[in-house]
């Protein structure tokens, strides 16, 4: 995983971007690149379509950089933007006839309710939670990060003997280390508002 580079909050990075600080923009892109890419991919779009949406979302962010009203809600803004662009892409591909809502919103804003199944809110919440867990993981030391990554992110977690060899520790220490790292992760998540 591309490691999270900046310890600054979204608000601080946004303020940096508004001051013309290129490093702040780079930090924002690195922070959210995986989450933004995951959204169209989760909706079943291929790499090319996902790449277009990715570019579109960040270009839109850049255009709106001065006017984003709630900097503390940047993540929500990004997710919503990515979701809508994904819907729009899928809607065009399926040539669905959109219908206008009762309130008279623009016709291209609403889609057949059956399409909700493509990217339901639960799926998006899950993606955001996973983003949060990865961010918290990046805050733990290298040892915890490596251990938890091997235990929980690998398709086939290796046996403790292999993990011990990879980390250069004894097999017997894996269990307690893992418990300590999980506790640290839960604490870090609590600080980020994860329930």
């Amino acid at each position: 995983m591309i490691a999270e580079a900046s310890a600054q909050s979204d608000e601080q990075l946004l303020a940096g971007c508004r001051r013309g600080d290129e490093g702040a923009w780079e930090a924002l892109v690195l922070r959210y690149q995986r989450l933004i890419y995951a959204i169209p991919r989760r909706a079943g779009l291929d790499e090319d379509a996902a790449a277009e949406i990715f570019q579109d979302v960040f270009a839109t962010l850049l255009e709106s950089i001065e006017t984003i009203e709630q900097p503390s809600r940047l993540q929500a803004w990004l997710v919503t933007t990515a979701k809508r662009k994904t819907w729009r892409t899928v809607g065009r591909a399926k040539s669905l006839r959109p219908f206008a809502s009762e309130e008279g919103e623009g016709a291209d804003e609403m889609y057949d309710l059956a399409d909700e199944g493509l990217l339901p809110d639960e799926a998006l919440t899950r993606l955001e939670e996973q983003h949060l867990v990865r961010a918290a993981l990046a805050e733990l030391g290298e040892r915890c990060r490596a251990l938890l990554q091997m235990l929980f992110y690998a398709a086939e977690p290796p046996p403790y003997s292999e993990i011990a060899a990879a980390l250069g520790t004894s097999e017997g220490s894996i269990g307690p280390t893992r418990a300590r790292c999980l506790k640290k992760l839960l604490d870090a998540l609590k600080k980020k508002g994860f329930s």
Partner: protein, 204 residues
Amino acid sequence: MRLTPGHIPFTRLADLAEGRLSPEEAAEERAHLADCKTCSAQAAQLGHLAALMRADASEDAPAELVASAVRMFRARRVQDGQPGLLRRLVAALTFDSSSLQPAFGVRSGQAAPARQMLFSAGDLDVDLRLAPGGEGWTVSGQVLGPCKGGEVELVGADGATAARATLNELCEFTLLPPTPDGTYSLRLRMDSAEVEIPELSLRA
């Protein structure tokens, strides 16, 4: 069989979440969880966390895609006609005469020629000449592209303005007074945009 009543140790809950317990052991712990709110809350939390991590099938976006998004910042545009919004651009170096081979026949003792640098920011180019002199460096230049006039200043690391100038009708300028050696940022303020050259090193 649990010999002593009480809470399930965290390590054991971690084993459960990790799936390291045998079906019998797992069943035994789950039986206790049914009776204990504290343990079941902790187990649920760990279980949810483990499930999230296990199900994380995301990948980093391709490196070139990420790099391309990062590069957007330099070339950014704000919608035309929006009042009060200014383009703020950071200029990139596109030419530096000091990176060329020294000219043949330049003997020591001759005055060093002015260093010429060219910066680009969106559709603007800034042509700079850095001339060393007895009193310090004289930075002069011209803004090329959509420029109707403006102000320019050289700001020191301490944030104080070391030299300033107003652009003439050809958008040329000479920053005064001459400035001592150091690292400065050059800031151009025009109607349409603000351009910054963040690290201008004035040194022989």
